[in-house]
């Protein structure tokens, strides 16, 4: 449904997007993850035809954004960064304008507007001017205009930015509900969002794709994947450490929370849980809690995207 081919963009000497290619199929929610300045918004601007690529193109439902821009633009809904909307318009008028531009008239336009207002919960601000709305509502108006024509492809630049936890939850619910019918791509810095909503994530930094996989696959790359967390009595720590020495696959044992928790980090994410559980019972460690960590996406993110340390000049 959405195919990105070798997108490249430079602004003079600065390369903002460096040969980015990927596809998003129907039913997929792709999380576009990356630090600020990574090229996420620039990529989205090129996909939607706002910014002309230096080379490469995007195909939205087989319509090339460079060759057939109108056909492509009909197939997607886009929420730009910052959720811009005309401040002097009432929500109702704004949505009516978008509905008319999208080709709906009369009763059909009214029905579509009603439906989207219900879906995104804009009823209470329907008559209000957009410049009087809170950030959260403004973003919802932005999402509403992106979805009003029920497009097969949805492109959202930071859809939950500025929303409170309840609103975030609601927005993610809306995305999850429509996901099976559409190809959705959202850009975000929020790792919890990737885990909550996305079926796949791409990590981009410095204009290049550095990782592409399901959230599970990516978290498995974490140093803490399959780490075991034990709640212990600090008095037993030395004894437990001695007992653990027999296991070969331990990379490190960290003591955290003032000695009450031991974090046992495996080598290469190897599973330690059953061995440790056996030891715990057999050697009577008296542990209070036992958790197996799946891994932390933020470690993976940092490991992949953090700038490499520079060698000092001698």
């Amino acid at each position: 449904m959405l195919e990105i081919r070798n997108l490249y963009k430079n602004f003079g000497p600065l390369v903002a997007v460096d040969d980015v290619s990927f596809t998003v199929a129907r039913g997929e929610v792709l999380g576009f993850l990356g630090p600020n300045g990574a090229g996420k918004s620039t990529t989205m601007k090129m996909i939607t035809g706002f910014l002309a690529p230096t080379s490469g193109t995007a195909l939205v439902c087989d319509a090339d954004i460079r060759e057939q821009p109108l056909a492509a633009k009909r197939q997607f809904g886009y929420l730009p960064e910052g959720a811009p909307a005309y401040p002097d318009m009432a929500v109702a008028d704004f949505l009516r304008f978008i509905a008319h531009i999208r080709g709906f008239r009369g009763k059909e336009a009214a029905a579509r507007i009603d439906h989207i207002v219900e879906l995104v919960h804009l009823n209470e601000v329907y008559e209000q001017r957009i410049d009087t709305l809170s950030k959260g509502f403004r973003r919802r108006v932005g999402v509403a205009q992106a979805l009003i024509h029920d497009p097969p492809v949805v492109i959202l630049d930071e859809p939950t930015d500025g929303l409170d936890p309840n609103q975030k939850y609601e927005m993610r619910g809306i995305l999850a509900e429509m996901a099976p019918e559409k190809a959705i791509i959202i850009s975000t810095h929020l790792l919890e969002e990737v885990e909550a909503v996305c079926s796949r994530a791409i990590i981009i930094a410095g204009g290049r794709i550095l990782a592409d996989g399901t959230p599970t696959e990516l978290t498995a790359r974490s140093r803490f994947h399959n780490a075991v967390r034990l709640d212990i009595d600090p008095a037993n720590e030395a004894r437990i450490r001695a007992d653990l020495a027999v296991l070969p696959d331990i990379a490190a044992i960290d003591t955290i929370e003032e000695g009450r928790v031991l974090l046992i980090v495996p080598r290469d994410g190897r599973p330690l849980a059953s061995d440790i559980a056996e030891l715990a019972e057999g050697r009577d460690w008296r542990i209070g809690g036992f958790t197996v960590e799946r891994g932390r996406l933020d470690d993976v993110f940092r490991a992949i995207t953090a700038p490499k340390p520079q060698l000092a000049d001698s």
Binding site: K45, T48, G49, F50, L51, A52, L70, K73, R74, Y78, P80, E81, G82, P84, A85, Y86, P87, D88, M89, D93, F97, I98, H100, I101, R102, G142, Q145
Partner: protein, 245 residues
Amino acid sequence: MIHNTLVICRRELGGYFATPLAYVFIVIFLVFAGVLTFFVGNFFERGQADLQSFFTFHPWLYLVLVPAVSMRLWSEERKSGTIELFMTLPIRLSEAVLGKFLAAWIFVGIALALTFPFWLTVLFLGDPDNGVILASYVGSWLMAGAILAIGAAISAATKNQIIAFVLTASLVFVLIAAGTPTVLGLFTGWAPEGLIRAIAAASLFGHFTAITRGVLDLRDAYYFVSIMVAFLAANAVLIDLTKAD
């Protein structure tokens, strides 16, 4: 094509009247027109039942007021970011440019139409040539359109509305002044005849005064329309180049 252009035009026009600005503009336009006509233009002293004193000042009236309308046409969208929303909708560039221009032109047209009390005045006071007056209104509206097109193109080139205003007003001033007898007089005597004629032909002033004298020469209408077409095309090119900046 027409449908989208009209939808965009309607949205834009609604935007004008959503703030007090539109009403303030219209009132100022009417007050200035009145002061210029009745006091500076010696309307009563002239004793003629025509609207020459009224139309004479239109170029100068527009010089100051029309750039105020055109300056926000594109600058506002680029500054607020709504341009990104606007230009990713399934609309053609031509629809976007025409829609916005038409809304501004209609708005100025409304302000111009609201000067009908002047016409009623001469109708009451005497027996004016209504054909000349109608032709003058049309010519005035065309001139406003030309100035708006220039302003729209300049507005597309900069995010700063003040700069847009000043540049537009300056360019329009040059175009008006170039045809006035004062300026043309500077060139007579030493400049070739052809150059003087070219300057006069390029000036807004010459074409407009011809229309107000009741001479509805197609060439004058053609002049204004050409300016509109040229600058709207420039507008489209400029917006395409600068929208993502």
